[in-house]
């Protein structure tokens, strides 16, 4: 048992989010490039690792566990998280998880986190994933655990933690940025401003090679198949399509003076 246990949820996303239309078949071609850790989740991990450094400085015993739901190949990315400073990793992988929307993903992650050998004090997610852009997993997980959640955190101040047991978080809200205090256990989602994920060291890479990434399926974490994957997803995608970009782009030609004159006319015409 550690003094402070952080759980970071990460997702593997395609290295590029480019989507093209196959002109011959009129179907969508998503570039199946090599997967990377969702950049916002990378910031979430950095947030946890920076806090770990702070807390170790306070003389505490700190642990960071990375949890992901994904295909078996995601294990390599979790190993990379360990190389960068995470202590443990859990991969939830099962055909039963396939096709999960945010609710079913939340359920699977919750089952996985509950199956860890230690409760968490702080749950950190990236603010959103670059492929789905829903920004729902963090707040849904917090709701599932009935703990408070602060989204879009750009700065964490740990200085007062040892005296009052709470963290001061700067986060984006509708009126700008506010600072809030939060007691554990709680959840937060991180913005990229919190910091770029540190690089692994040679020592870290060695350790990660020997580390144990726990790979589990739905049954291992006692997940109800009816609440997992496609079956457990209330939402259904009925159609995907590449949006029409406005094709009627008019070229404004000529020398800069002539271009400027034409632009001035266009702008005046709109006033």
């Amino acid at each position: 048992m550690s003094d402070f246990h952080m759980v970071v949820c990460v997702k593997a996303v395609p290295g590029s989010t480019e989507v093209k239309m196959d002109p011959k078949t009129n179907t969508i071609v998503r570039d199946g490039k090599q997967a990377v850790i969702n950049p916002f989740d990378a910031s979430a991990l950095e947030c946890a690792l920076a806090l770990k450094d702070d807390f170790i400085g306070f003389g505490m015993d700190v642990r960071v566990t990375v949890v992901s739901m994904g295909i078996p190949a995601t294990e390599a990315l979790l190993r990379d998280c360990i190389a960068r400073g995470a202590d443990d990793a859990l991969l939830l992988t099962d055909r039963a998880f396939a096709g999960a929307d945010t609710l079913a993903t939340t359920y699977a992650l919750k089952c996985g986190i509950e199956a860890l050998d230690e409760d968490f004090d702080l749950l950190i997610c990236g603010k959103m994933a670059v492929d789905g852009d829903t920004a729902q997993i963090g707040p849904e997980l917090a709701g599932a655990f009935e703990i408070p959640c602060v989204t879009d955190v750009s700065c964490v101040q740990s200085a007062g933690f040892t005296t009052c047991g709470s963290l001061a978080l700067v986060h984006g809200c509708d009126a700008g940025e506010e600072t809030v205090y939060l007691e554990m256990p709680c959840a937060m989602t991180t913005a990229k401003e919190i910091g770029q994920l540190r690089m692994p060291s040679i020592a870290g890479i060695r350790a990660a090679e020997e580390a144990d990434v726990r790979v589990v399926n739905a049954a291992d974490v006692h997940a109800d198949p009816a609440r997992c994957g496609l079956a457990g997803s209330p939402t259904q995608v009925v159609r995907s399509f590449v949006p029409d970009r406005d094709q009627t782009c008019e070229a404004v030609e000529g020398k800069p003076t002539e271009q400027a004159a034409k632009l001035a006319k266009i702008i005046e015409g709109m006033a």
Partner: protein, 533 residues
């Protein structure tokens, strides 16, 4: 002929300068868009004996592209891709005009797309093969990727990856050089060689050129100082690194090679310079896939730390550990991850033997991490430039003084000891970084006032002679240009300068091209008056 000789009016003011931050005067300027136009312009200027300074992207640090009166021939608009072929070994050879910018070339190669407008059938066929082949790359990487290929050839540019791939020279297989009278020399590597130190060439117009090469011996180290001369040398090598003094490069053929499948960057931090030097010495023979070995000294890292605190531009840099005094960066270019891992562990082993710590390292294995490391490495010179810019506000006469000297492997520790001893004696502020793998550091003096600036200059002159005594070169990669002409004389001696100037005058009898580059105008003019070559 659309390219014309225009008077050098205020609108062209920026063309009077380059990255060396020195400037000069000119009376006219032209922007030819093809070899034919460039030759026509030279022909016209030759008739009037107007001096000509050749320019590319003006990213040079030795003022080679800064005019000394006369005409500026700017090649930046000669930027077409001309064709592609494969050699017997299957390498792709790309023909380009000199104004093609390196960053553009890299982008095109990365996308496997080349602008093929106007290419012949044979080139288009090679292009099809190029698109099917593994991704290709051009290894020469001067820090400034906005450099153009013509300029890189003219100063035999290098960069970090020269540790594995050498300078620009071996990657050039063909050159077209326009002579001062508008005639052309077309050279293909492996076709024309000197006999001893005598060279015979035939121009496109059929004129035979016969001339003698200088007799000096080049140092056996990374070198971009003066003309490349050797017994029985390939004629093409004379024009690479000639700083625009023998002719104007109007076309190049470069060799592409398959891009390495796995590129990992490793930054190793040490608490002392001695450990970094000992690490470098012992890691060189151990690694077989190191593409670059670079160094950042304590002065450089300190400035970076300060700028990171002060400027938002650098705030996203990863934080440096307090213990980290100096940094050695090693780039591994490997065939697969297993090979890279093996190299990495070898490196880690040497690191610990040298007194380093394997947890005080950054290993970039992903694109995001590589980008972060690139940012870090580029932030060092940038932060130093920002510091100097601040100081210029109080004293506009000072600029950064940067050295570019290299020595043989065995003298690495000696040359660093020399720098440290003399810098400490002089009390000057400095920051050093660069290509420690090639025993080639850029030591930068950061003058606080005009007196510092002058003393820095004196120190460099002292280094030039001591480095020469160690068997080194006064310019390893920037070229000599105008700024280091004095050091070149220190390195080779006066007689070699006279021989070099004679060589130039055999090809450029009126001394029109690149005045002030490599040797003093005074020497050149004296020789011209004595009847030239």
């Amino acid at each position: 002929m659309s390219a014309t000789i225009k008077p050098f009016t205020d609108e062209f003011e920026e063309y009077g300068r380059d990255e060396s931050r020195s400037s000069g005067e000119a009376s006219s300027i032209s922007f030819p868009t093809s070899e034919g136009e460039a030759c026509a312009i030279l022909r016209q200027l030759h008739a009037e004996r107007v001096s000509v300074t050749v320019q590319g992207a003006r990213t040079g640090l030795a003022a080679g592209a800064v005019p000394h009166g006369g005409h500026i021939l700017n090649t930046s608009r000669m930027n077409r891709y001309l064709g592609l072929r494969r050699d017997d070994e299957g390498h792709f050879l790309l023909r380009v005009e000199p104004g093609v910018v390196l960053s553009e070339l890299r982008k095109q190669l990365g996308k496997k797309m080349l602008p093929t407008a106007g290419w012949d059938q044979a080139s288009l066929k090679a292009y099809e093969e190029f698109q099917e082949a593994p991704e290709q790359f051009f290894p020469t990487d001067p820090t400034e990727a906005s450099a153009c290929l013509g300029g890189m050839a003219a100063c035999n540019a290098s960069g970090a990856r020269s540790y594995a791939y050498g300078p620009m020279r071996p990657h050039i297989t063909g050159l077209h050089v326009a002579l001062t009278d508008g005639d052309l020399v077309e050279l293909q590597r492996g076709e024309v060689f000197a006999r001893g130190r005598h060279l015979s060439l035939v121009t496109a117009e059929g004129r035979a050129l016969e001339f003698d090469l200088p007799s000096y011996t080049m140092p056996e180290t990374k070198n971009a100082s003066g003309y490349f001369v050797a017994d029985d040398m390939d004629a093409i090598d004379l024009y690479i690194g000639a700083c625009g003094t023998l002719g104007v490069i109007t076309e190049l053929e470069i060799v592409l090679q398959a891009a390495p499948a796995v590129v990992w960057g490793v930054s190793c931090f040490f608490d002392s310079e001695d450990k970094a030097v000992s690490f470098t010495d012992s890691v060189r023979p151990v690694l077989s896939h190191a593409a670059a070995i670079e160094y950042f000294d304590a002065g450089a890292l300190d400035i970076l730390r300060r700028q990171r605190e002060q400027s938002t531009a650098f705030s996203s840099l990863p934080a440096l550990d307090k213990e980290a005094k100096v940094c050695v960066y090693v780039e591994l270019d490997c065939d697969d991850e297993a090979q890279a891992t093996e190299e990495l562990y070898h490196l880690g082993w040497v690191l610990e033997l040298a007194g380093g710590r394997d947890d005080a390292t950054w290993v970039a294995r992903t694109e995001v991490d590589r980008e972060c490391q690139r940012f870090f490495r580029h932030a060092v010179p940038e932060s130093v430039n920002m510091l100097i810019d601040e100081r210029r506000r109080t004293d506009p006469t000072i600029t950064k003084l940067g050295s570019d000297m290299s020595v043989p492997n065995a003298r690495l520790a000696d040359v660093i000891a020399l720098y440290r001893r003399t810098l400490a004696e002089s009390g000057l502020e400095s920051a050093a970084w660069g290509h420690i793998g090639n025993n080639h550091l850029h030591v930068n003096i950061l003058p606080r006032d005009a007196q510092d600036y002058r003393r820095g200059g004196e120190l460099f002159a002292q280094w030039a002679s001591e480095v020469t005594a160690m068997g080194g070169a006064v310019s390893a990669e920037h070229g000599v240009g105008k700024i280091k002409a004095g050091f070149l004389e220190t390195m080779y001696g006066h007689e070699a300068m006279v021989e070099s100037a004679r060589l130039k005058l055999q090809l450029d009898p009126a001394g029109q091209l690149g005045r002030g580059n490599l040797f003093s105008e005074k020497l050149l003019d004296e020789l011209v008056q004595k009847g030239g070559a």
